[in-house]
């Protein structure tokens, strides 16, 4: 199933989306392969490692179901990130209801970090710090940092994905960065 015609690889998102809208599953597989790393990374930064596989699948299944309704096919990536954001928001709401899970998740991250003996300890320490610093932010502020600073998206696109004004993106980014800096300084990281 992974073997596809060569010309599929050169196809633009727009062409692939049009084919998917006609029910072409192979085109959807290509879109999946194109975006799954970014979607997974974003979901991981927003929601952590708990249920990451399930959330990733949920994003792409929702995408496939909603594709026939997508009118502006050229904005596929923005639309995909919006679905990603919606899934992350829903997950966050569900997790708030079950606080014990959150505690278990942070324990799991710490345990995993401890298990990586072979990699650099300092690197692991910083990774853990950033993970904690991001988790310390609320979801709205975290999303702006993840999309803009880590995924290198323009502020305008972030505003479209989160359905908020550009000014709100800027103010959230300012607040989030300030909070991150303070958190890191408290942990002994001087930037």
């Amino acid at each position: 199933m992974k073997v596809l015609a060569n010309n599929h690889g050169e196809m633009t998102d727009l062409e692939l989306v049009r084919k998917c809208q006609k029910g072409d599953e192979n085109s959807f597989r290509l879109l999946y392969q194109r975006y799954q790393h970014k979607v997974r990374a974003t979901l991981y930064q927003l929601c952590g490692s708990e249920l990451l596989d399930d959330l990733q699948q949920e994003v792409f299944l929702k995408t496939w179901k909603a594709l026939p309704k997508l009118r502006e096919a050229k904005y596929f990536s923005t639309w995909l990130y919006r679905i990603c954001w919606n899934v992350a928001s829903d997950h966050s709401l569900a997790r708030k209801r079950d606080h014990h899970r959150q505690v278990a998740q942070t324990d799991l991250v710490k345990q995993k970090s401890r298990n990586h003996h072979q990699t650099d300890l300092l690197q692991l320490h910083y990774q853990e710090l950033i993970q904690s610093a991001l988790q310390n932010l609320n979801l709205e502020h975290r999303a702006v940092v993840v999309l803009h600073d880590l995924e290198d998206m323009p502020q305008k696109e972030v505003a479209e994905i989160l359905s908020i004004p550009l000014g709100t993106v800027k103010s959230r980014l300012f607040t989030a960065r300030k909070s991150l800096r303070q958190f890191l300084e408290l942990q002994g990281v001087n930037l």
Binding site: R29, L52, L61, Y126, Q127, Q131
Partner: protein, 126 residues
């Protein structure tokens, strides 16, 4: 408000990017699972769910027209009833009508004669 492109911000963003936690690898074959779900034709349960939802739609879909029809019937019946009451009744049997008119005419004449009789007798007595 500080500008977001300041040196401090750049340093922070660089630090975040450098030490950003690596995304854990998939524990399930997500791609294959998704493609399998997409390729799976509608199962019995999903058919059943669709049938149920269509039934639900039908029941709700019929509610509005049936309410409209019932209310229209009630209103038209009311209007018809009001019209029936207010419209003048025309006699169909002309013979009966003539008899009634003659009777009432003579009746009134008799009352008048009686009255005149009473008044004239009274005057004569005076």
């Amino acid at each position: 408000m500080k500008k977001t492109t300041s040196n401090e911000d750049e340093e922070l963003v660089d630090f975040l990017k450098t030490y950003c936690p690596t995304t854990p690898k998939e524990t399930k074959p997500c791609e294959e699972l998704i493609m399998r779900v997409i390729a799976t034709p509608l199962t019995y349960s999903s058919h059943k769910a669709r049938f149920r939802s269509s039934l639900r739609f039908l029941s709700w879909g019929w509610l509005l027209p049936s309410t409209l029809i019932t209310s229209l019937l009630i209103i038209s019946a009311y209007v018809f009833n009001v019209n029936q009451k207010s419209s003048p009744q025309i006699a169909t049997k002309t013979e009966d009508l003539e008899t009634f008119m003659v009777k009432s005419w003579y009746g009134s004449m008799a009352q008048e004669i009686e009255f005149q009789y009473v008044t004239t007798v009274g005057d004569e007595n005076n």
